[in-house]
Symmetry: C2
Subunit: 201 residues, 2 copies
């Protein structure tokens, strides 16, 4: 005995959401059908729309429905300074902290040889090309202070360090082992202010 | 600064799911777009399909895409015994416990005067009509052992108690204050076996 086929399909589909197990998927499905069908319709449309329209910015790789995201196309921002982060959530966290007026490069991940994620999977070939061709003068490495984030920052230092651009790693202040997007704005700005130059070994 | 409009819409829409706050909605949206777009498409279709097709069984009010649900249309089941439960999840819990071969009536809630939920909102007029016209001989009251569930069972006892049908309340064994659908199968069957007759006051 199960629920009806369409309801079982809905419950199963809800499990694609992170952190949603069988019991909470069931609770969500019943809640939507019994109490919030209009919400379920709105969610269906939003998912469809997001999947169809949201891609990656041609320049910084952030998620956007535009060819060039709002930050990359904002001429008031310093196009020659790039802050390298792991995720779109990190961009939002830095923006919400305020004060940074350069642009970004969003890796959409970090180097992880054990998972088969190499430099091209996180766009480092495109980053290198941008640095070579677009007059970048400063790169701020704001990957997470985790083992993979540090390894990625180290790799970037090696990759870009000989090109005469200023490179820095955001300061400690972001708790070690923590994730950038969950850090409060003042801690994050402190980390930006206290960033230290990195030198190629 | 926010995410792009389509992404903001998706994050906002995900908050219609119970237990999903702003941070987890953001995490879900980014996860779907970065790592599971096919899952997001499947979920969009499942939601659309569920909203368009799933209604209530004409007889027992359970959620189904059929006019008459699989249980109500199963001629091997005892159509003259009704188990009254609060939610579709409760039907599933009783079915999974095994052993019950009658039919159901699903209130899709419970009496709650403080929330303006009266007898007709939980289908009691239709239940009364069924009992009068369809030869029901036994009604098992399996509402939750909460204040509202007990009040609903009491109301049903008053409403149906003078018609010469057997009425019973499932036994203690379901933990007081607990919810039926989270009880293990053997406890639930024990509660069925030990059900006690209820007498109209
Ligand atoms: Zn961009
Ligand atoms: Zn039915």
């Amino acid at each position: 005995m199960k629920f009806s086929p369409a309801l079982e399909t809905l419950i199963e589909s809800l499990r694609c959401l992170p952190g949603v197990g069988p019991k909470s998927a069931q609770r969500m499905a019943l809640h939507l059908l019994e109490r919030n069908r209009s919400g379920a319709s709105v969610l269906a449309n939003a998912l469809r729309d997001a999947v169809d329209r949201i891609g990656h910015c041609q320049r910084c790789r952030n998620l956007t429905e535009l060819a060039l995201c709002e930050i990359c196309s904002d001429t008031r921002r310093d196009q020659r300074t790039l802050c390298v982060v792991e995720t779109p959530g990190d961009v939002l966290a830095v923006e919400q902290a305020g004060g940074y007026r350069g642009c970004y490069f969003v890796l959409m991940g970090h180097l992880s040889p054990i998972d088969g994620i190499g430099p091209e999977d996180i766009g480092l070939d495109r980053l290198q090309e941008q640095v070579e061709t677009q007059g970048i003068t400063e790169v701020i490495l704001a990957t997470n202070p985790t083992a993979e984030g540090e390894a990625t920052a180290y790799y970037l230092t090696e990759m870009l360090g000989s090109r005469g651009i200023r490179m820095s790693r955001i300061a400690h202040g972001v708790p070690l082992g923590g994730e950038l997007e969950y850090v409060d704005g003042s801690t994050l700005m402190h980390a930006f202010t206290g960033r230290t130059p990195v030198v190629r070994s």
